[in-house]
């Protein structure tokens, strides 16, 4: 039973990290209908920014809490700046081009960013400083649920609640929903659609950066390639839940995380990806629009 609970929590932890990244995919898709393949790289850049800031600060002996906060803020801001700039450089000029063009541009951006970090940093795995301490009160259950699992779950829950509130009730959230549902009409009621698209990229990037920081300190090492695999997984989760749907991205991520965790725990870690992507194939066959997605109807 303990083993089951352990797998359950590790699945939820994994799932919530996927969710932080998947939200960026799904929100961008919802607004401009683009799979932003460079989104995984944003997450990687977030992890690297946190790594650099945290390493420097720990050399100077700052307290752990200060390091976490500063590294978190730096990663969020820096990744958001990347997300914003990528949209302006690689996607905005192609706004009216055929759908394939921005997609290819996104893949190009992803390869560029990977290689840029590879050249600027190194291809080796770098040890990530341990930002989340082992809490004393977690001692009795530490063999089942780690402190970092707890921190990740609590942090992502809080972020999801804030995001839900922003999207449902704030002015910018309403404008985002309106733009996603009908861009022409959004323009006609006076929404500056370019600003809304930028805001979407910024919010998505900030979430991915927080995901990058959390997972890097959980696993303890990073390299330039982590964005690729995490990006593909999060994208799978977004499709699983129904791309374009925000609750769908969270649901899909949790299902994917749990599937991987149980497959690893009960069968073999070699089969982790097999199960993850089999799930994608199955959903594409039986419910192509995803669990909570709406079927797109083509009007003739």
């Amino acid at each position: 039973m303990d083993y089951f609970i352990e797998l359950l929590f590790s699945g939820l932890t994994r799932g919530s990290i996927y969710a932080l990244i998947a939200l960026g995919y799904t929100m961008v898709y919802g607004i401009i209908g683009l799979i932003n393949f460079a989104h995984g790289e944003i997450y990687m850049i977030g992890a690297f920014t946190a790594f650099i800031v945290a390493t420097v600060l720990s050399i100077y002996g700052f307290p752990l809490l200060a390091i976490v906060v500063v590294a978190g803020v730096a990663a969020t801001v820096w990744s958001s700046a990347y997300g914003y700039t990528i949209e302006k450089i690689a996607y905005k000029p192609l706004r009216h081009a055929p759908r394939l063009s921005p997609l290819i541009s996104a893949i190009g951006m992803s390869i560029f960013l990977q290689n840029y970090v590879l050249l600027a940093q190194t291809s080796d795995f770098l040890p990530f400083p341990e930002l989340i301490p082992e809490f004393a009160f977690m001692e009795p259950v530490a063999h089942i649920v780690g402190s970092s699992d707890l921190v990740i779950l609590v942090t992502t829950t809080i972020i999801m609640l804030i995001l839900t509130f922003v999207i449902k009730f704030t002015r910018i959230g309403k404008a985002m929903r309106a733009t996603a549902q009908d861009r022409t009409m959004a323009m006609l009621v006076g929404i500056n659609v370019n600003n809304i698209i930028s805001a979407t990229f910024i919010i998505g990037s900030a979430l991915a950066a927080i995901g990058g920081l959390l997972i890097a300190s959980h696993i303890g090492q990073i390299n330039f390639y982590i964005g690729f695999i995490a990006g593909i997984k999060a994208f799978t989760a977004a499709v699983l839940g129904g791309i374009g749907s925000i609750p769908g991205a969270v649901l899909g991520s949790l299902i994917l995380g749990l599937t991987e965790s149980f497959a690893t725990g009960y069968i073999s870690s070699d089969y982790e990806d097999v199960f993850a992507f089999s799930l994608l194939v199955l959903i594409l066959i039986f419910k192509p629009s995803g669990l909570l997605g709406k079927a797109e109807t083509q009007k003739v």
Binding site: A175, R177, A178, Q181, M185, L188, V189, I191, N192
Partner: protein
């Protein structure tokens, strides 16, 4: 109030309007009639800044607006109810109306205007919390017009408000257009295929064919014009 001078616009390689000249004075109801594909909607979208004009000038209160982005044009007081109504399908009726007042900050007046549109269309008050996409065609048209009114427009652009509606609903919609014009002194630019109804409430009219204005004049004269009777009124 609004003046189009030799306006040209289009999509990709297609030029949809070639040379549009027209003028709308404050307080008027002006109608633009023409067949499918003549360039009516393109004209409205160009005024609203959704499509950019390739040549010519658009003046609103003697100020050129053809280079302005759509949100600034809405801010100036030009609002459009586009063809096909474009209700935000998953926003509630209330949220759709809120979006109409997106650029406004005067909360007290917004509340007053909300009451005003609920008085115009009581059915919307009943359906306040329903998703916009679940409304019937007539109700969606009412919502689309109310949403535009929530912006307190000085110039209201209406694109085929009668499309796909039952005759009784069309009559009601046209009565309300007239009412909006007289009660609030809102200038109205009405694009219609239903030339008969449109010319009956309009002060003046323009006829558009293949992206060009071919005829214009007072609405009652256009109603008598034998070419128009043959081509648009089916007499």
């Amino acid at each position: 109030m609004l003046k189009l001078e030799n306006v040209q616009a289009g999509y990709g390689n297609i030029i949809a309007i070639k040379d549009i000249n027209l003028e709308i004075n404050e307080g008027e109801i002006i109608t633009l009639i023409g067949a499918n594909g003549a360039g009516k909607s393109t004209t409205l979208m160009t005024i609203s800044g959704v499509i950019s004009a390739r040549a010519g000038r658009i003046l609103f209160k003697n100020e050129p607006i053809e280079k302005k982005p759509s949100d600034e044009i809405v801010k100036l007081g030009i609002c459009q109810v586009p063809e096909g109504r474009h209700i935000f399908p998953q926003l509630s009726v209330q949220e759709n109306l809120d979006m109409g007042a997106f650029l406004r900050k005067d909360k007290a007046n917004i509340k007053k205007d909300l009451q005003y549109v609920f008085d115009l269309f009581p059915i919307l008050a009943q359906r306040k919390n329903q998703e916009g996409g679940t409304l019937s065609g007539g109700e969606q048209q009412m919502l689309a017009m109310s949403r535009a009114l929530m912006a307190r427009p000085q110039l209201l652009l209406l694109d085929e408000p009668s499309m796909g509606l039952a005759p009784l609903v069309i009559k009601q919609i046209f009565e309300i257009i007239k009412q909006i014009n007289t009660e609030n002194n809102t200038t109205i630019f009405l694009v219609e295929q239903n030339a008969n109804q449109a010319l009956h409430i309009a002060d003046r009219g323009y006829v558009i064919e293949n992206g060009k204005i071919t005829l214009s004049g007072p609405a009652n004269e256009l109603l008598e014009n034998s070419d128009i009777q043959k081509a648009y009124l089916g007499i």
